[in-house]
């Protein structure tokens, strides 16, 4: 690049820049921004002393930028450095008005000017785009400790719905201690035994956390949530995530998802109950509920009849792996033993759920206005843990209640 083209280079680049900024804001604003930028950049780029920007917005772009020809005596490398500085400062100054596309648009505009394309080969806008992204991420990093603070607070809040304060803190601390060897940033989280004015445990998240790379932070948060939730003995663990989301709020939720946390990928350990346990418990509960209204022995007959009837209507149903022996003696149920083939674990859970649902539906279908209370009693007999386990399996109680209700 010849020294004589320095004037041309810098003036055309500044003209394009003013045009691009003006398109996003206004010409007046673009001029003021450019004046400010050049003034700031002059401290590090002496070459910019040859440039002046006119304040008159009614002038044509090529009249706004005035470049003293003395600039042609300067090494072109210095001009490039100055141009880069101007670009960086402009982007920073524009904040939200400038983005990745602003740089690309600028590059395209510069490329359209043939002689400038050649002259700006050394101006690595691709790198600047990357720097811009990193810079934006860096600005996000400033909020990381605040975000982690909110995450921990929301987690405590959600667990607090089920456990006492002390236990909640213990569970979270245990998880942190376990994970901090891999996710070092977790060590910067301090949950004090003391509470604030509102009775909430004091949480301190060190600013050092802001140096953690986003993807590590995301992975760590996800693991922390996963481990903490799975440490609880709740059957309905999904409700903790629901409570967590609620407390975290939309903005922070967006932030952590933006960071890379995938709440829907958190692996919640499902019910500790095997299919066999669930089937047995559901049949036993059904027998008990029918027995409360008739007699225990008759209830066994009712459920046996239903089971056999459904088995006949669909021989491929997993229900064919279940049998009720009403001649056997059992301590838990009168004259009945329920057996489930171990092969049930190979059956599709959806099919098992459908089978159980059909049994309950058939049992309650002729009870008229007593049906809803029948289902309620059935659920009470099952207990929350088994109701959840059945729902996890795929039994849709709401659908049952809806069908019975209608």
């Amino acid at each position: 690049m010849s020294k004589s083209s320095n004037t041309n280079l810098i003036s055309r680049i500044l003209e394009v820049l003013i045009q691009k900024v003006a398109r996003r804001t206004s010409k007046q604003f673009a001029i003021e921004t450019m004046q400010k930028v050049i003034q700031n950049c002059q401290k590090s780029c002496d070459v910019l002393k040859y440039i002046s920007i006119s304040k008159d917005p009614y002038l044509e772009p090529n009249e706004i930028v005035k470049v003293d020809n003395l600039i042609n005596s300067v090494d072109p490398k210095e001009v490039f450095i100055a141009v880069e500085e101007i670009l960086k400062f402009t982007i920073k100054d524009l904040k939200k008005s400038a983005d990745y596309f602003f740089i690309r648009e600028f590059q395209e505009a510069v490329d359209d000017i043939d002689h400038l394309r050649i002259n700006t080969e050394d101006l690595n806008l691709g790198v600047m785009q990357l720097e811009y992204i990193i810079d934006r991420k860096q600005s996000q990093l400033m909020k990381k400790n605040e975000l982690i603070f909110s995450v921990v607070k929301a987690l405590i809040f959600s667990l607090n719905q089920y456990y006492q304060d002390r236990k909640v803190i213990d569970i979270i601390k245990e998880s942190i201690n376990y994970l901090k060897e891999v996710y070092v940033f977790l060590d910067y989280i301090r949950i004090s035994g003391k509470t604030d004015g509102e009775g909430f445990y004091l949480i301190d998240v060190g600013g050092e956390i802001n140096n953690t790379l986003s993807f590590i932070l995301a992975e760590g948060i996800q693991k922390l949530l996963e481990l903490t939730i799975n440490k609880t003995d709740l059957e309905n663990k999904d409700s903790i995530i629901d409570g967590f989301k609620l407390k975290l709020g939309d903005r922070n939720l967006y932030e952590i998802e933006n960071l890379g946390v995938k709440l829907d990928k958190i692996r919640i350990e499902k019910s500790k109950y095997e299919e066999e346990d669930i089937i047995k418990k559901s049949l036993e509960s059904l027998i008990k509920v029918i027995g409360m209204r008739t007699s225990d022995k008759f209830a066994v007959s009712v459920v046996s009849h239903i089971l056999e009837s459904l088995k006949k209507s669909n021989e491929k149903s997993p229900l064919s792996m279940i049998s009720i022996d009403n001649s056997a003696n059992s301590s838990s149920l009168p004259n009945c033993s329920i057996s489930v083939s171990p092969n049930i674990k190979y059956a599709k859970t959806k099919e098992i759920a459908r089978g159980i649902q059909e049994i309950v539906k058939m049992a309650g279908t002729h009870l008229g206005n007593k049906t809803i209370s029948f289902v309620d009693d059935f659920k009470s007999q099952l207990g929350n843990n088994y109701v959840t386990a059945m729902e996890d399996l795929g039994v849709n109680f709401q659908l049952l209640e809806f069908k019975f209700g209608s």
Binding site: S295, V300, V302, S327, T365, H366, K370
Partner: protein
């Protein structure tokens, strides 16, 4: 060929009226009465197997539910069609009765209707 019907009811007057009525209007009926669930089982054990059982639910001692369960356990007895005699307001007897029993008849019942229902069932069950 006579059609053996067993009526299980703790009310002797119902047994009497069903026996007299059915045997009067249809000479092919032979009605056996059992005043309790226990008596029913006793008769069955003695080999008196009817073609159909009319079973009252609310009985002292062994009620209709438990008696049904006992019938259900026995491979021979479970083949006998059972008709529940239920009170109109007894949702559970009719509701669960529909699932396990052959049929149910609400009390008070008309004898001609009872006869027709029994004949229909016996025909259907190929008895």
């Amino acid at each position: 060929m006579s059609k053996k019907i067993m009526i299980v009811d703790d009310n002797p007057s119902i047994i009497f009226s069903v026996k007299e009525g059915l045997e009067l209007i249809d000479k092919t009926f032979e009605v056996i009465g059992a005043e309790s669930g226990e008596k029913c089982l006793e008769l069955l054990k003695s080999g008196k197997l009817p073609d159909l059982i009319l079973l009252d639910i609310m009985m002292p001692g062994m009620n209709g539910w438990d008696l049904f369960a006992e019938l259900d356990k026995n491979s021979e007895w479970k083949k006998i069609p059972v008709v529940f005699l239920t009170a109109k307001t007894d949702v559970y007897s009719t509701g669960f009765g529909k699932i396990v029993s052959t049929d149910y008849i609400e009390k008070p019942f008309d004898l001609t209707d009872l006869k027709n229902r029994i004949n229909d069932i016996l025909k259907r069950e190929n008895v």
